[in-house]
């Protein structure tokens, strides 16, 4: 990928103190970092977690040799920042259990089908197990290939493939349950 090559060059130049390369590096990456963090953690902490990601990245940049692409290197840091944040927050948010989102869906009268669908999808994604959720976000939202996602997560490609499939299975089950609830309440 040409973008990745350019980005990796930017990172290496930034490591040597090149200011404009640093700016380019930020400009080319901040969107996908923010977006990924908004999904892995939540939107309202995405700004802060993005800042934390780049702070860690710049302090570790001198050790970046360009062996992997700068994009996956940076996203791996972002993923760890999100994991640290979730661990530090300590408790799991309550609005992710299946009972809860069913109740939420029922309360949502009158129905706007699209809004309903989006809410159900959010809830379903929120209730995915961490590893499946990560694999799903990296491949479906961030748009990484399985190979890149495997690099970010530090696992094998087959593991990503299996996690994504299981995430899809969980989402499918959760969303068909919403549809059933819809049918039952009508």
């Amino acid at each position: 990928m040409n973008d990745d090559v350019q980005l990796t060059r930017c990172a290496l130049r930034a490591a040597h103190g090149d200011r404009s390369a640093t700016e380019t590096f930020i400009r080319l990456t901040q969107q996908s970092v923010w977006r990924m963090l908004a999904h892995l953690a939540s939107r309202d902490v995405a700004d802060d977690l993005t800042q934390e990601t780049y702070a860690r990245a710049f302090s570790a940049l001198s050790r970046f040799r360009g062996d992997s692409s700068a994009r996956t290197w940076l996203l791996a840091i972002a993923r760890r920042v999100a994991a640290d944040h979730l661990r530090q927050r300590g408790t799991r948010p309550t609005l992710v259990g299946s009972i809860d989102w069913q109740r939420r869906a029922e309360q949502n009268q009158p129905r706007v089908p699209e809004l309903d669908e989006g809410l159900a999808l959010r809830q379903a994604m929120g209730s995915l197990a961490t590893e499946r959720h990560e694999a799903f976000v990296l491949t479906q939202i961030t748009g990484l290939s399985y190979a890149e996602a495997a690099q970010v997560c530090g696992c094998r490609i087959g593991t990503i493939r299996s996690r994504v499939a299981r995430a899809r299975d969980d989402l499918r089950t959760a969303l068909s349950a919403t549809t059933d609830t819809d049918a039952a309440t009508r």
Binding site: L40, R43, Y54, L121, T130, E131, H133, Y146, R168, T173
Partner: protein
């Protein structure tokens, strides 16, 4: 809802979960990890997996629509993300050490105020010997000086939390400066006594400088990076800073996240 894990079709015994991994990977144009012909045979013979394929494709469309909508616009944070110049980064530890020293001096001033005037110069500046500053008033002054010393030390230890005590320090120094000028002009106080206030002024200046150089790195347990704006945050979350910087560490987080929790 009729998932049939482990069901065997007439395809040489491929399990449904392997087949579904393959189906899922093909949705992403990735290597299915199994022979495509075998997968096709399984699909032809397994209605459960055919249904799974349809539903997975539907989920996929939903995700695509959702994740590219206008609601997913990302902010431009470039100015917050740029690293500080090297010189600035070197200045930080220096300022922190200076602030710590100022804090120690300030604490000494405070503690000295509690001691009875022994005639020694160092102890005499504490304030207890001043006319009208005996008894409880003197203790009160000492307590305040000690508190400020602690606050300065606290800022030195946690510069990213400086926003909390800083307004109080500033207010104190401004009022104190005004009163000092007044008292000095009317001859109610001498240079020697005013010198006692120098540590507070120096502390304020160094603490303010340190705040300006606030590092990007700070703990953000609940969006706490801008915690300076509400002091409630500042006091409440005492959790330690995430300090790991190496991207090579094994991760240990296993907690299910809350996707889009607040955007609903």
């Amino acid at each position: 809802m009729t998932p049939t894990p482990g069901r065997v079709g007439d395809d040489g015994g491929m399990r449904c979960d392997r087949a579904r991994e393959g189906i899922s990977a093909l949705l992403d144009s990735e290597d299915p990890g199994i022979d495509a012909a075998v997968l096709q045979r399984h699909l032809a013979s397994c209605p459960g997996c055919r249904r799974w394929q349809d539903e997975a494709a539907r989920v996929n469309r939903m995700v695509r629509v959702r994740s590219t909508g206008p609601a997913d616009v990302t902010p431009d944070l470039a100015s917050r993300l740029l690293p500080q110049p090297r010189g600035v980064r070197r200045l930080r530890p220096l300022l922190r050490v200076s602030l710590l020293l100022v804090a120690v001096v300030q604490l000494t001033v405070g503690v000295a105020g509690l001691l009875p005037p022994l005639g020694g110069h160092l102890f005499a500046i504490g304030g207890a010997h001043m006319p009208g500053m005996t008894g409880h008033l003197g203790n009160e002054t000492a307590a305040f000086n000690i508190a400020i010393g602690i606050a300065l030390g606290w800022i030195a230890a946690r510069p990213y939390r400086a926003h909390g005590p800083l307004p109080l320090l500033l207010a104190f120094v401004v009022v104190l400066a005004g009163l000092s000028v007044l008292d000095f002009a009317t001859g109610r106080v001498g240079w020697q006594r005013l010198a006692v206030h120098l540590p507070v002024v120096a502390g304020l200046v160094v603490a303010a400088a340190l705040t300006r150089l606030r590092p990007a790195t700070m703990p953000a347990p609940e969006g706490g990076a801008t915690a300076g704006e509400d002091s409630e945050h500042t006091v409440r979350d005492e959790a330690p800073s995430p300090t790991s910087t190496s991207p090579d560490e094994p991760e240990t987080g296993r907690r299910p996240p809350a996707a889009w929790r607040e955007s609903a």
